[in-house]
């Protein structure tokens, strides 16, 4: 194989940049965002909202510390959803698909609470529930 000329080498590097480096940079950027957010907040929980048929809440069991400021970042993945925890007085309101909503609160009661979606999001909407466990 003949030696690559300088021009061809530059072309090759640009192609590698597009095909390999760019996709990796997406993940790096997302991780940096996460780290920055985590540094700014004592406890941050990412919650992915899928309709029940597509897997439901991910995660569907969340452990929180009593009286520690908490931030939920909820991303509606497939259709509009909302997150409601009646006992803690939380209701995000509808989140359109592909959007995220952030909500901050301090869990002030110990116990196990159910969270659920408040938008009629699919045929199996009523099964879209999860568990919040607030501990000392």
């Amino acid at each position: 194989m003949s030696k690559l000329s300088k021009t061809e080498l530059i072309c090759l590097l640009i192609i590698i940049g597009i095909v390999v480096v760019m996709p990796i940079s997406f993940y790096i950027y997302e991780d940096v965002l996460r780290v920055n957010r985590a540094a700014a907040q004592p406890l941050e929980v990412h919650i992915f909202a899928w309709a029940s048929e597509n897997g439901g809440w991910q995660p569907n069991e969340i452990h929180l510390k009593l009286n520690v400021k908490t931030k939920f970042i909820i991303l509606a993945m497939d259709t509009a959803h909302s997150l409601i925890i009646e006992e803690l007085g939380i209701d995000t309101g509808p989140i359109p698909p592909g959007y995220r909503k952030e909500i901050e609160f301090i869990p002030s009661k110990e116990g196990v609470f159910t969270f659920y979606c408040g938008v009629l999001c699919s045929a199996d909407h009523h099964f879209m529930t999860g568990k919040i466990i607030v501990e000392r």
Binding site: E8, I18, V19, E30, G98, R100
Partner: protein, 486 residues
């Protein structure tokens, strides 16, 4: 000097409709230099490769929500609109010039990106494409197969990514097995209809002096030279009469030692009158495209929701009498295939038989069918333009949203993620659609009557023979307008 420029501008502006004022871009030093530069094609593919990679990634790991997905928005809203209303009607197969799908295959075959060096040898097996498959039938069937899944393709990002990745891998593998652009010429489902509708385009590469090409022995435009790889599209640029298989890669411009190839802006639909190259496999593409335009308008823009549900193979009925996904999809597939391969061509064949009867023609009805099928190109393209207009006017703001958040992970890179959905010019859509259909009909009638004169020579017989075809074209136009505004 000023007069000269004014005259050039006048030539350029009138070249779209007048056969007297064709405008050759290679007369301008700037364009000539660009077309001859070896880095030209690599440079124009690059931005598309960048977008292609994001499209594929977003389909696999991004949000599955259609209107928030970079894959769906960029491919089925932006690309489709640009392709059908701007790139193809104005610039022929310009998309093929900038398409990233065969790029890696090209680079592998050429053992490099830009340079053409002495002692060059093609990489790969370099086999000739099998003779029985040297036609458009494989493209027609592959296209029809993909077209059957239109509802999934346009709503599920992962399906779009799987399709694009498959075509990319296929393009690369075939480049290693077969000579030059066999994939683009005989397999690519996009290339099939681009080739057909590029006959209408106001853009062409043609030899300036055909006799010079005939006399020229070494034929660098095919075989390549020190500065060019020669035509990768398996055609002879010196004999070009129509756009169908010219991918505008500019290798022939680089190769020709006499600068005898022109890149012209010309009048629309010129190629419809070129007799050579007319064939059944090609005109079937015109029928498939016409049938699909009608079906897609009904499915995606019509008021019949159940028709759309049938196209979704994963559909779960939410009311008792609805068909299940498989049942509905079987009917949908039957409609798509039978309309494209039997009903539309069959009805047109009957009109052609009537045409032959009225003209007391001697030749076969099949020949009449092949010749007159080219009249379907302007009206078919007009139908697709009408179909594409609302897609962009209604959904354009999603393009801004996904640019800021290409994977749907909640980013807002450029501050456009939360721009609300804002359709524009909704009141104008039906008028624009009707305008497109009327312009398409005018071109179909104009060129159809010319084709009739070619087929029957005698003026009176030609007029009589064209009457049934004109009625068919008018009926198709009425059907389009009814689907758009009825």
């Amino acid at each position: 000097m000023v007069d000269g420029r004014a005259s050039s501008l006048k030539n350029l502006l009138t070249s779209f409709i007048s056969h007297r004022n064709e405008f050759d871009l290679t007369d301008i030093e700037f364009f000539r230099r660009i077309f001859k530069h070896r880095a030209f094609q690599w440079a124009v593919i690059l931005p598309n490769l960048f977008i292609f990679v994001i499209v594929v990634i977003s389909g696999f790991v991004g949000t599955p929500v259609g209107n928030m997905s970079f894959a769906v928005v960029f491919v089925w809203i932006l690309w489709w609109f640009a392709l059908m209303t701007v790139l193809t009607p104005l610039f022929s197969r310009l998309w093929c010039m900038i398409c990233p799908l065969p790029a890696f295959g090209d680079w592998l075959q050429r053992r490099g990106f830009i340079k053409k060096e002495g002692g060059f040898r093609w990489f790969g097996l370099n086999k000739p494409w099998p003779a029985p498959l040297k036609n458009l039938w494989p493209v027609n069937f592959i296209f029809l197969f993909i077209a059957t899944f239109i509802v999934l393709l346009t709503t599920r990002p992962v399906v779009t990514s799987i399709l694009l990745l498959t075509l990319f891998v296929l393009g690369t593998v075939l480049a290693l097995l077969f000579a030059k652009r066999a994939f683009c010429r005989y397999i690519c489902p996009v290339g099939g209809f681009l080739g057909l509708y590029s006959m209408f385009a106001s853009f062409e590469i043609r030899p300036k002096d055909r006799t010079l090409c005939e006399r020229h022995v070494t034929k660098e435009c095919v075989r390549g030279s020190d500065t060019s790889f020669g035509c990768p599209w398996l055609i002879y640029p010196g004999g070009l009469e129509r756009n169908n298989f010219c991918g505008l890669c500019m290798e022939c411009i680089k190769a020709c030692p006499y600068n005898n190839l022109a890149v012209r802006i010309r009048r629309f639909a010129k190629d419809l009158l070129v007799k050579s190259g007319r064939a059944l496999d090609e005109v079937y593409k015109a029928h498939i495209m016409l049938a699909l335009a009608l079906i897609y308008i009904a499915i995606t823009q019509g008021p019949w929701g159940w028709l759309r549900d049938w196209g979704n193979v994963f559909y779960k009925p939410t009311y008792g009498f609805a068909l299940s996904g498989i049942q509905g999809f079987a009917i949908h597939a039957a409609i798509v295939w039978s309309s494209s391969l039997i009903i539309v061509p069959g009805v047109f064949y009957l009109f052609c038989a009537l045409s032959k009867y009225l003209a007391k023609g001697e030749g076969s009805t099949k020949n009449v069918f092949i010749n007159f099928s080219y009249t379907l190109i302007p009206i078919g393209l007009a139908g697709w333009i009408g179909f594409s207009i609302p897609i962009i006017l209604v959904n354009w703001s999603y393009i801004l949203n996904v640019i800021s958040d290409p994977l749907g992970w909640g980013w807002d890179l450029f501050g456009t993620k939360y721009i609300p959905w804002q359709p524009v010019l909704l009141e104008a859509i039906p008028y624009l659609q009707i305008l497109a259909v009327i312009i398409g009909l005018i071109y179909s009638i104009k060129y159809g009557s010319e084709i009739s004169k070619q087929v029957y020579q005698d003026e009176r017989r030609a007029v009589g023979a064209f009457l049934p075809i004109a009625i068919f074209l008018i009926l198709v136009s009425i059907l389009f307008i009814w689907l758009f505004v009825g």
